[in-house]
């Protein structure tokens, strides 16, 4: 039978032995897990045992794409990187945009699994069927931008796609990430450190075979139709996001009273205007760019042409840099925030993990827990923007004892320092948080707690909490009350719904920004494009079930690693402290309310309320009997 969409191939690279083999992609994986994150999570569950050292040779680093990756399906260039995470010491994954995912599919592969560890630095070169591990000793030590240049020179083609790590990944910095296309990042969960531990510097790909589409004419019609729906039903977001990209969230969250300020203490920042889209677009942004097949072009390409940072450029600058390196760390210097983002891309650091860790250090310093002696002389008083840049560089290069401390990420660093520093580590399961304050969005805020990869807003990306009208919330999610962001009802239900569809987005490999205000996009697009590309008859129910399946596999992985209900909570700060200032002054998230939502969510997710472990009935219902048996053996079955 002809295969459409999927390439049908898993590439296994044994870095210790320097051997490769390709395996056919199992059909049942395609139909039950779809692709990308779905494939990766199951492979991780099956092949990386509990207790494995995340930075040791027994961990596996998995790169996955979906069946529609590399086609005109909107936003379909994405890929997922999965491994056991050194930040959570449990499940970890990261997702990136750009063009690398498409290139891998055009070369004819769905998934790459890296096993073992190379004895000397190497990079993988994939040129359709030709696969080669090349010596990377001459590029080890280079920043990621230079790495891309050198790899392209080595291979003799400037149009190839290069995923890789910078000095941070090489040094096993926990906040490091995998980069691609210069400025895209598979950012979360320390995947850069895992790649560095395998001495894998880069993966370069050139693909000319392409992706087979079962119904090309129909696909073209569907893609056009749904771009029109996006423009019509989510007009406000489409127009603003195409123009400004995520940096607009500084402005928007300031209005909503949701902008993380001074290490998540406050939710609005007195200098937000200096770091919003106004000044950014007036002086620095020269053009907008896009990921593969995207209708938005949200990425701002900017250059700094004068002053002490003249010569700096970056692309795809995100809110997590313009806000992360400003309001989150209490500094109102836009150029410092932009340079901070550019350095993170060069060094291979995750904006969120990096900014959160620096914010932790700043608050500890201002509370007297860290002294100048601890910070190797850096003055971390709120507002010292230059110190923010110093922190980024020292973290990336593990410079000095303070650099070494920052490189642990805020949870492990907090534990190391003690003396109350842990209270200021705003992490969940060890992973730092991004985006917005949980006290002012009770569903989306709750979701951080149950995200399978730790503190993360993307597992649920429940923007519908402020984008859907109450009528849409009633019709599509089944709870009108969930539309009230300050309420507590219907939240578990909403997060169950969003998490399933987001897992689906991560498996077909689509950007979540395509699915925002219009509920029709959330509920109709995935199965329609899957059907047109693969030629199989997908339904909403099938895709929704796949989303449930993927979430539960990841929860099972975490249960095996010793995580349970106790790990599904927000940092104490959000239960204890009321929002002190601004439009949402007084907002809170009382723990008793959180517990009720958690119970509601567990009920729907099929999780035991006491332990937080997946329940047997639910696992069996979703066709995960092997996982049920494994958990039962280990006494981790709910």
């Amino acid at each position: 039978m002809e295969l459409y969409g999927w390439a049908g191939k898993i590439l296994r690279v044994d870095l210790s032995k320097e051997t490769f083999k390709t395996q056919p992609l199992p059909t049942d994986m395609m139909t039950s897990l779809i692709g990308g994150r779905g494939f990766n999570s199951k492979i991780l569950y099956d092949e990386v045992a509990p207790g494995t050292d995340p930075l040791g040779p027994d961990n596996k680093l998995i790169f996955g794409t979906g069946p529609v990756t590399g086609t005109i399906v909107s936003t379909s260039g994405r890929f997922t990187v999965t491994a056991k995470s050194p930040t959570t010491d449990a499940f970890g994954d990261a997702n990136a945009g750009g063009h690398w995912g498409g290139e891998l599919k055009w070369a004819g592969y769905d998934v790459i699994v890296f096993e073992g560890a190379a004895k000397k630095p190497v990079f993988l070169w994939i040129d359709d069927d030709q696969i080669e591990l090349r010596n990377a000793e001459h590029i080890w030590g280079l920043d990621y931008f230079k790495t891309t240049e050198e790899v392209q020179k080595d291979v003799g083609d400037m149009d190839i796609s290069v995923a890789g790590i910078g000095p941070a990944g090489e040094r096993l910095v926990y906040t490091s990430c995998v980069m691609n296309e210069y400025t895209r990042a598979a950012a979360k969960c320390g995947m850069g450190a895992v790649m560095g531990s395998k001495r894998l510097k880069a993966i370069a790909v050139r693909g000319t075979k392409g992706v087979k589409v079962a119904k090309p004419g129909e696909l073209f019609k569907i893609v056009e139709e749904y771009i029109e729906i996006l423009k019509r039903e989510d007009r406000w977001f489409y127009e603003n996001f195409s123009k400004y990209g995520t940096p607009m969230f500084v402005d928007q969250y300031q209005q909503l009273g949701a902008l993380p300020t001074r290490n998540w203490r406050e939710t609005c920042y007195e200098e937000a205007e200096k770091v919003g889209v106004g000044p950014f677009y007036k002086k620095y942004v020269k053009k907008k760019r896009a990921c593969q097949s995207c209708p938005y072009h949200c990425s701002p390409y900017f250059t700094i042409d004068e002053g002490r940072f003249a010569g700096t450029w970056d692309d795809g600058t995100e809110y997590e840099a313009t806000g992360g390196f400003s309001s989150k760390v209490g500094c109102g210097d836009l150029e410092v925030a932009l340079v901070g983002g550019a350095w993170c891309d060069k060094f291979g650091l995750d904006y969120i993990n990096c900014a959160d860790t620096i914010a932790w250090a700043f608050e500890c310093y201002n509370e007297g827990i860290l002294t100048k002696e601890d910070t190797d002389g850096l003055d971390l008083k709120w507002g010292n923007a230059d110190a923010v840049l110093e922190c980024i560089r020292r973290m990336a290069y593990k410079e000095g004892k303070f650099g070494e401390l920052l490189a642990l990420g805020s949870r492990k660093a907090g534990r190391k320092v003690g003396k109350g520093a842990e209270y200021y580590s705003i992490t969940i399961k060890g992973q730092q948080m991004g985006m917005m304050d949980p006290r002012v969005f009770h569903a989306w805020g709750f979701a951080y707690g149950v995200s399978t990869r730790g503190g993360d807003h993307l597992r649920s990306h429940a923007v519908c909490e402020y984008m859907f009208t109450p009528e849409e919330m009633e019709k599509y999610v089944g709870s009108r009350k969930a539309a009230d962001r300050f309420g507590f009802e219907g939240k578990g239900k909403l997060i169950f719904w969003t998490e399933n569809i987001r897992a689906l987005n991560d498996s077909i490999e689509n950007c979540k920004y395509f699915f925002r205000g219009s509920p029709r996009l959330w509920t109709e697009y995935p199965h329609k494009v899957l059907s047109a590309v693969t030629g199989l008859d997908w339904t909403y129910e099938m895709t929704f079930a796949a989303g449930q399946r993927i979430n539960l596999i990841e929860r099972a992985y975490n249960a095996r690693e010793g995580l349970g209900r106790k790990d599904d909570y927000l940092p104490e700060r959000f239960y204890k402290e009321l929002v002190p200032t601004g439009p949402t002054k007084g907002a809170s998230f009382p723990r008793e309310q959180y517990d009720k939502i958690l119970d509601e969510y567990y009920e729907m997710r099929g999780v035991d309320k006491k332990t937080g472990y997946p329940k047997k009935e639910k696992l069996l219902e979703l066709g995960l009997a092997d996982i049920a048996a494994d958990l039962e053996k280990r006494r981790k079955l709910g």
Binding site: G70, T71, I72, S74, H99, G102, W106, F145, M158, D159, E181, Y182, T183, G207, T208, K209, G210, V211, K212, V213, A214, K215, P216, G217, L219, F220, V223, E224, I227, E228, K231, S242, K286, K287, K288, R289, A290, C291, Q292, S293, C294, P295, H297, S299, Y301, T303, W313, D315
Partner: protein, 193 residues
């Protein structure tokens, strides 16, 4: 479909005889965002096999992150096409000026590919023949999908001779006009201040 003479000197003047050449795809090089919807639509619907692959696309977008450049490159249907060097008579040009390859006649020598100053001709190793943009018989798919996805940017437009000078001149005028109006505002504020 008329066959264009190999040398312009040898031909009857097409404009005098009432023919209108000059159809092509206009490109706003500063506006392309590098999304490749054009490449993937073209390859999927025109390569004959429903395969989504830039290597099979007649339009290619070259991207350079450090400079923030995304440059669509496609056949410009030259008035005096160098690719007419074809020894097998496989290259011809119609009344609209659209330069086309006759697959049956192509021998895969690649002379046209080498002659094109824009790299607009590609080689399909499986078929052993060259391929290039043929303007999709008057309704280019790349133009269509680009304008659906990015309507505000007008990156790709189907140009006919009576339109193209005007549209480029109009765009340049808009840039200059904005700058003139901006200078008035700045001048006014300086005078007041």
């Amino acid at each position: 479909m008329k066959q264009r003479a190999k040398s312009f000197k040898d031909a009857d003047d097409p404009y005098r005889s009432g023919e209108r050449m000059g159809h092509f795809i206009g490109i706003a090089y500063d506006k392309c965002c590098g999304c490749k919807l054009c490449e993937l639509s073209c390859s999927m619907l025109r390569s004959g096999k429903g395969i989504s692959s830039p290597a099979l696309s007649r339009i290619r977008v070259l991207r350079r992150e450090p400079q923030g450049l995304d440059i669509p490159m496609v056949c410009l249907h030259c008035e005096d096409p160098p690719c007419m060097v074809c020894p097998a008579d496989a290259m011809s040009q119609d009344q609209r000026g659209v330069v086309m390859i006759n697959d049956d006649k192509c021998i895969g020598c690649k002379q046209c590919l080498l002659a094109c100053p824009f790299g607009a001709i590609s080689f399909n190793p499986e078929k052993g023949k060259v391929f290039k943009c043929d303007l999709c018989n008057g309704a280019p798919l790349c133009v269509r999908i680009c304008n659906v996805a990015h309507p505000a940017d007008k990156v790709l437009t189907y140009q006919k001779p009576e339109m193209f000078e005007k549209s480029i001149r109009t765009r340049a005028f808009e840039r200059i006009a904005n700058s003139v109006m901006q200078s008035r505002v700045e001048l006014a504020s300086k005078v007041k201040g």
